[in-house]
Symmetry: C2
Subunit: 357 residues, 2 copies
C-alpha cells in the first residue's frame, strides 16, 4: 500500500510488521524489559527457588505479556540434552501404535516436550546401533518402549550405559519400578476365563500369542488362573500357539475345530486371532456363538467390525501411554489416579454365549 516516495522500510518494519508479527522475544529481551540479568530470567524459567517473590512476579508478567517461550534448541544445547521424547517400537498393530502415541502425547501436553517416533526391527543386524545413534544424535531426554522392544534386555542395558532415561511398558515387572509401567494382562485374561466358565463351558481351548511376547505368557497365565478358580485346567492339546495375526488365528482355529470332541469355547490371545477363528468357524459351518464361543483380547477396532462382534478384554493402551510419559518427565498428579481406568475390563458382545445344548 506504500506510495512510490515512501522511504524504504526499516529493518524494524520488516521484523515487526510484514512477516507475521514481531520477532520472537529472547531471554535477553525479557531480562532487559524486566530490569534483571538473563541469569535471573533463567532461574524463573527453571523454577529455581532462589528468586525473590517480587522479582519473580515482575519477570513472569513480562514473560506473559510478550508470550515468551524459551527456545528448546538453545536450552537443549546448554543442558546437553534435548526436550525430545522418543517412542521406540516394533508392535505391528496400527491401532496399538496410534493409541500409544495419543497417550504419550496426553502425558506430554503442555510440558514443552515433543514426541519423536522411531519404529525398529529387533531382527536387524544394526538394531542396537540404530537406537544408539538415534538417542545420542538427538540427545533424547528419554524414551518410551512398548512391547516387544520393551522386553529386550539389550536395549535396557544400552540405555543405561549411555545414560538415557527410559520407561518400559510390559505385562510384567522386568526392571526397577522407576523404569516400568506394568499392564495387568493377567487380570484381564482371568476375567475372560470367569466369563467363559459362567456360561457353562467346560471344553475350553486357548490360542496363545508368540512365545517371544511376554504378554502371551501373561495372558495364558491369567486365563489358567481364572479357570483354576473353578477347578478347571487346560490340557496339553487345548493350547495352540499362534502369532498374534489374523492368518495364524485361522490356522489355529482350523486345528482346534478339527479335534474330537470339539471345544465349545476358545479364548484367543488377541482380537486379530479371534477374528481369524471366526473365519475358521464359518468355514467349518459353525454358527457363533450358538456352536462356539470366541473371546478376544485388546478390544481394537476389528473386534467390532466382524460378525458377530467380539466379546473381548479392553486394555487401556492410551491411559498407559499417558502414565508412561508422565513418569518419564516427572509429572506428579494432584488427585490420586483412578486405577479402574488403568485396568483391563471385559467387554461382553455377541461372540460368547451359553454352552451348546
Amino acid at each position: 500500500m506504500s506510495s512510490s516516495n515512501t522511504p524504504p522500510s526499516t529493518p524494524e518494519d520488516l521484523e515487526n510488521g510484514v512477516e507475521g508479527g514481531r520477532k520472537r522475544a529472547t531471554i535477553n529481551d525479557i531480562a532487559r524489559l524486566a530490569g534483571v540479568s538473563k541469569k535471573t530470567v533463567s532461574r524463573v524459567i527453571n523454577q529455581s527457588p532462589f528468586v525473590r517473590d517480587e522479582t519473580r512476579e515482575r519477570i513472569e508478567a513480562v514473560i506473559a505479556e510478550w508470550g515468551y517461550a524459551p527456545d528448546p534448541q538453545a536450552r537443549g544445547l546448554a543442558f546437553r540434552r534435548s526436550f525430545l521424547i522418543g517412542m521406540i517400537y516394533d508392535n505391528p498393530n496400527p491401532q496399538y501404535v496410534v493409541n500409544m502415541q495419543l497417550g504419550l502425547l496426553d502425558g506430554l501436553r503442555g510440558s514443552g516436550f515433543e514426541l519423536v517416533v522411531h519404529p525398529c526391527d529387533r531382527a536387524s543386524p544394526t538394531f542396537l546401533a540404530d537406537i544408539r545413534g538415534f538417542v545420542e544424535r538427538q540427545k533424547l531426554y528419554g524414551v518410551v518402549l512398548p512391547p516387544s522392544v520393551s522386553e529386550d534386555e539389550r536395549v535396557a542395558k544400552l540405555l543405561n550405559e549411555i545414560g538415557c532415561e527410559y520407561i518400559r511398558i510390559a505385562s510384567v515387572e522386568l526392571d526397577m519400578p522407576e523404569h516400568m509401567i506394568v499392564g495387568h494382562d493377567r487380570m484381564g485374561a482371568a476375567q475372560a476365563a470367569r466369563h467363559i466358565v459362567e456360561l457353562g463351558h467346560r471344553r475350553i481351548a486357548f490360542i496363545s500369542g508368540p512365545g517371544s511376547f511376554r504378554s502371551s505368557h501373561e495372558r495364558r497365565g491369567g486365563f489358567e488362573d481364572g479357570l483354576a478358580e473353578a477347578g478347571l485346567k487346560l490340557a496339553e492339546g487345548d493350547i495352540v500357539q499362534g502369532a498374534y495375526t489374523f492368518e495364524s488365528g485361522v490356522a489355529c482355529g482350523d486345528a482346534l475345530l478339527a479335534r474330537t470332541p470339539r471345544p465349545t469355547a476358545i479364548f484367543c490371545g488377541n482380537d486379530e486371532m479371534a477374528a481369524g477363528v471366526l473365519q475358521s468357524a464359518r468355514k467349518a459351518g459353525l454358527v457363533v456363538p450358538r456352536d462356539l464361543t470366541i473371546v478376544g483380547f485388546d478390544d481394537f477396532q476389528i473386534a467390532q467390525a466382524v460378525w458377530p462382534p467380539l466379546t473381548t478384554v479392553r486394555t487401556p493402551t492410551r491411559e498407559i501411554g499417558r502414565m508412561a510419559a508422565e513418569k518419564l518427565i516427572g509429572v506428579e498428579r494432584d488427585e490420586p489416579r483412578d486405577m479402574t481406568k488403568t485396568e483391563p475390563s471385559l467387554v461382553v458382545r455377541e461372540s460368547s454365549g451359553p454352552v451348546p445344548g
Copy 2:
C-alpha cells in the same frame, strides 16, 4: 573390580572408559585432528564447493574414523531452524496414520531429520494457535499435512506467513506444485466402476464420505467417470452420504437396501463403510456377493478381516508419504520413479460378483 588401593579414576577414565565409550567428538576435535579450522570442517559438513579436494578427503577420513556426526541441536541453533519434520494430522484411521508415518520415515531415512507427530483438531478454538506454537517453538524445518488438515486453507496461509516449508497431501491440486503431493483417488474409483459394470450390474449405488473431505468428491467423481464410460449414471437417490465410519456404513446400507428395486452393487467411499454395509446386508438376510456386490476403498486391514473379504481399491499411502518427505527435504532421486507404485489399484476379492441372475 578395582582393589581398594587403586587410585581413584581420573575424569578421563570416566569419560572414555566406564560410561559407554569415549565422548562424542565435536567439530573442534575434527578440526584439530585434521589440522584445519572448524570453519573448514563446517564447509565439508554442509557440502560447500569451496574446499580443496585434498583437504576435503582428509577431513572426511577423520570424520569417518571418529564416527563424527554434527550435533543437530547446535546446528539448528546457528541455522535458526531445527532438523525436525512435523506431521500434523487429523485423519482418524489408525492404519492410515501409521502407514503415512512409515512412508515419511522412509523418505527421511539417513537424512538426519526426525519426525515429530502432532495430531490436531480442526474444530478446536485454539487450532491455529496450537499449530503456530508448535512450528515456531520447535523451529520446524517443515511440516507434512495429510487430509483433511491438508485441505484447510487457513493452515497453508499461516505456514506461509511464518515462513515454514510444507507439503500438502490431497486428492486434488490445492496449491502450487512445490507444496503438493496429489493422490489419484479419481483413477482408483473409476477402476472400481469398471469392475462393477463388467460384472453386469446396472442398479448401482454409491456411499459417499463426508462432504468436508475432498477425497469424498474425488472418489465420487471418479466413480461417475467410470460409469459414464459405459453410458451409465447415478440417479439422485443412488447416492447417500456417510461419514467414513463403520457405523455410518451400516446406516447407509440400511437405507439403500430398503429401496425398491434394491441396488445389486454398492460402491463405498472407504473400507470402513463397506464393512458396515456388509453388516447391514447380513441383517437384511442377503448373501454377499450372491445377492449384493460391495466394493470398498483404501485396502486397509479391515478389508481382509471381514467375511467375505472386500474387493477394494488400494491406495499407496506409504509411498505417498515417502514422496512427501523427499520433496520436503529436497531429495532428488536418480532413477525415475516407478509411477505404478504411486497409483491406486483395484484388488479383487470375494465381495464382488456377477449380477444376480
